[in-house]
Amino acid sequence: MTGEKGAEVVLRLDRITKRFGALTANDGVSLTLRRGEVVALLGENGAGKTTLMNILFGHYVADEGSVEVFGQPLPPGNPRAALAAGVGMVHQHFTLAGNLTVLDNIRLGTEGLWSRSDAGAREKVERLSRDFGLAVHPDAKVGRLSVGERQRVEILKALYRDARVLILDEPTAVLTPQESEALFATLRKATGLGLSVIFISHKLHEVMAIADRCVVLRHGRVVGEVDTHATDKAALAALMVGGELSLPRAEARAAGAVLMRIAGVSTPNRGASPGLKMVTLELRAGQITGLAGVSGNGQAALAEIVGGLARPAEGRLSLHGQEPKVWTPGEALARGVARIPEDRHHQGSIADFDLTENAVLEGYRTRFSRRGWMNWRAARAFAEGIIKGYDVRCPGPSTRIRLLSGGNMQKLILGRAMAVGPDIILANQPVRGLDVGAIAYVQSQLIAARDRGAAVLLISEDLDEIMGLSDIIHVMSQGRLSPGFARGTMTAAELGLWMAGQKFEGAHAA
């Protein structure tokens, strides 16, 4: 089954155009994919990448253009036909049924209506997961799996159907670096066996690592196509945004007073994810505290305590040296703690509310109402201020936030959080899923906040981001917190050892 790269054309998209009302999401896009090749599809948020893939897979019907797989035209709007032709797709947002087992999710739709062959399916799944290093238990309920495991199930789904073309739409957006590495290993193995891959990502270093060729979209059009070995990250970024882009860099600064202190805090375990274990952490004015670690090691519990969603079961929390009597999100806000939530769709925004309403979600009681009466005029002005000040691209403040791209949604949330000039900023995965331009913007805002004296807690799985921004770095593993390491004192490899938990024993002994 091995085949040479670059021989046979397995997929050809020909002048695809797709319009949503007035907006042209894809504008005459053509693309070819050869056997065993990995093509990266790049572009800003909203450039039209997902739309193009949805057309290929049959979720959408193109207004113009055609799709050919192995030389055969693909009937439009028919995922079943795409699957039958050997196209597999791992969607940007997982398409798994949480109430079913891994095995059931994989074989869904592959059998007749009535009879089924239990043994054969299980065997095949087990073989595939062994061959491609996609470890996951076939009888586990998908609802209980971590995102990394779900990702593997999605890929298994495609492989199980003998996909020869695999579309991966931002597969690494929610993966830990380790999980991403494992995914790439799988992909290399699979392409070696003749699989062809379209890979969508905003993380350029990944693109450089895995892709043979890059196709760049901007405003629905192909603006460039380059061989990966003939380009670099900066050039790609420039192609994407249509100009030069400078990533923000934070210079070291002297830290100020302790604004928030968490001492000896422990929380109970939650299912598979560990609770905090005697965590002590100080957030200082004018300093970005980076919290590195593989997600699911207690970051969520820590974020809940800092953000006011939970009170520590054990241990103490103090702000400006005093312990708050009540500790709720409202109280946290009142005391100048700003929060950028991990999940902007579920926690950070209300999809069918417009931008004005989303902008005042946190401040409606204190700043935009009197005696229970909303002051919509002020609210709207506030939203307009954010839109202007934070460069939120949208038709206006009465647009439903659902229609915004992730980056613009994130900018609104950022603007909302920063508006009160907070002392303490909790930034939980603030740039997840964003394009390079948006990332640069969000990060520069965090640095600016630090520079005016705020204490920032930055939680991220991206070591580059942590090392680039943080004045002091802690690592979390199994609910334990490492000592703080000053900027520049640690290498990525050293931090990695802490993340794996190997350094903790020694530190405790000391």
Binding site: V61, H346, W373, M374
Partner: protein, 347 residues
């Protein structure tokens, strides 16, 4: 097929489609009349006259709309917060019970009307509070608890009417004593059957609308309904909001029963409501949960019912045609309202 939102629906579309739904309903009416051996062309006029053709007809339509406005508002308020209150029927009876308890002499005039209205609201609110607390505390599905409470409430009313609340002058029939005159809602215009309950219902709709659009509570209710997780994260007291919603919703539903007793019937019997609580759900959803829309849709639903009931008598077809037409009108209308906002495309 697939539905695609229309950015700016034209006026023709927004008015034409509901009109088309009405025409289609009348078409069904004609077909049914034909099946029943009546003159299909006569029935159209008969429906219109029956619903709006005379002073009597208009008043009857408005009268029947009154409890529907209240229950429709109750449902609209609750559903906004995704609180699935299917128990407006029970809350309605709670309000009716209070109207009797306080209105049969326990309280003297002139306080009795406002006090009993408030107490009725409280009773309805408390009745919904139980399921809501069960939902927020224990995660018990409120669709089922509120639904089951309807049956329990009806049996409780039946017990009251055959026991402690039985009218000693009622010749043994299970109904409550009559309200004292001071406890009755006066008619808006003497001689017309329309009572102040209707005006109160309109007022309630306006108040609910103001609450929803102008107050922090309204903002909170909508936020909690759309995304409780985000609401909680933003610092909203989600459970407290649900409780407040329940108080408002239960109170409004109770007013339906209160106004039927105080305004129309003058006493309580166990068949006070022919399903006003359930019809309220229809009214609210037709109005897309908009409080002012509820007034319109309640009158629409009442009009279809009254009009086609009158038609059945005039045309000599079985009365059940009225319910059939109400259902037909409803289904066509929700479809039409949807199609004003989206278009069907292939793919």
């Amino acid at each position: 097929m697939r539905l695609e939102p229309i950015a700016n629906p034209s006026a023709a579309r927004r008015l034409g489609l509901p009109a088309l739904a009405l025409v289609a309903t009348l078409g069904v009416a004609m077909a049914l009349a034909l099946v029943a051996g009546a003159n299909p062309f006569a029935v159209l006029g008969q429906i219109a006259t029956g619903a709006l053709g005379s002073k009597l007809a208009v008043l009857e339509t408005l009268n029947r709309a009154t409890p529907l406005i209240f229950t429709g508002l109750a449902v609209a308020v609750a559903f906004r917060a995704k609180l699935w209150n299917i128990g407006a029927e029970a809350q309605l009876y709670a309000g009716a019970i209070v109207a009797v308890v306080l209105g049969t002499g326990a309280l003297g005039s002139p306080l009795v009307l406002p006090v009993s209205a408030l107490a009725a609201m409280l009773a309805g609110a408390v009745l919904l509070l139980g399921p809501v607390l069960l939902k927020t505390r224990l995660g018990v599905d409120e669709v089922v608890t509120t639904l089951l409470l309807n049956f329990i409430m009806l049996l409780f009313v039946s017990y009251l009417l055959e026991g402690p609340m039985k009218d000693p002058l009622g010749m043994g029939w299970p109904k409550s004593p009559a309200l004292i005159p001071e406890a009755r809602l006066p008619r808006i215009v003497e001689g017309l059957r329309l009572h102040w309950g209707f005006a109160l219902a309109i007022l309630a709709a306006v108040i609910v609308w103001v609450i929803q659009t102008r107050t922090t509570l309204g903002f909170e209710i909508r936020a909690v309904g759309q995304n409780p997780e985000a609401a909680r994260f933003a610092g909203m007291p989600v459970n407290a909001v649900l409780v407040k919603t329940a108080l408002l919703s239960g109170g409004l539903a109770a007013l339906a029963g209160w106004s039927e007793v105080a305004g129309l019937k003058g006493h309580l019997s166990s068949d006070l409501s022919p399903g006003f609580g359930y019809t309220g759900i229809i009214v609210a959803m037709l109005a897309l949960l908009h409080p002012l829309g509820v007034v319109v849709t309640a009158i629409f639903v009442a009009g279809i019912f009254v009009g086609s009931g009158a038609m059945s008598r005039a045309a000599g077809v079985p009365t059940y045609i009225a319910d059939m037409l109400m259902a037909t009108a409803l289904l066509f209308m929700v479809l039409a309202i949807l199609l004003t906002r989206v278009r069907v495309v292939r793919g």
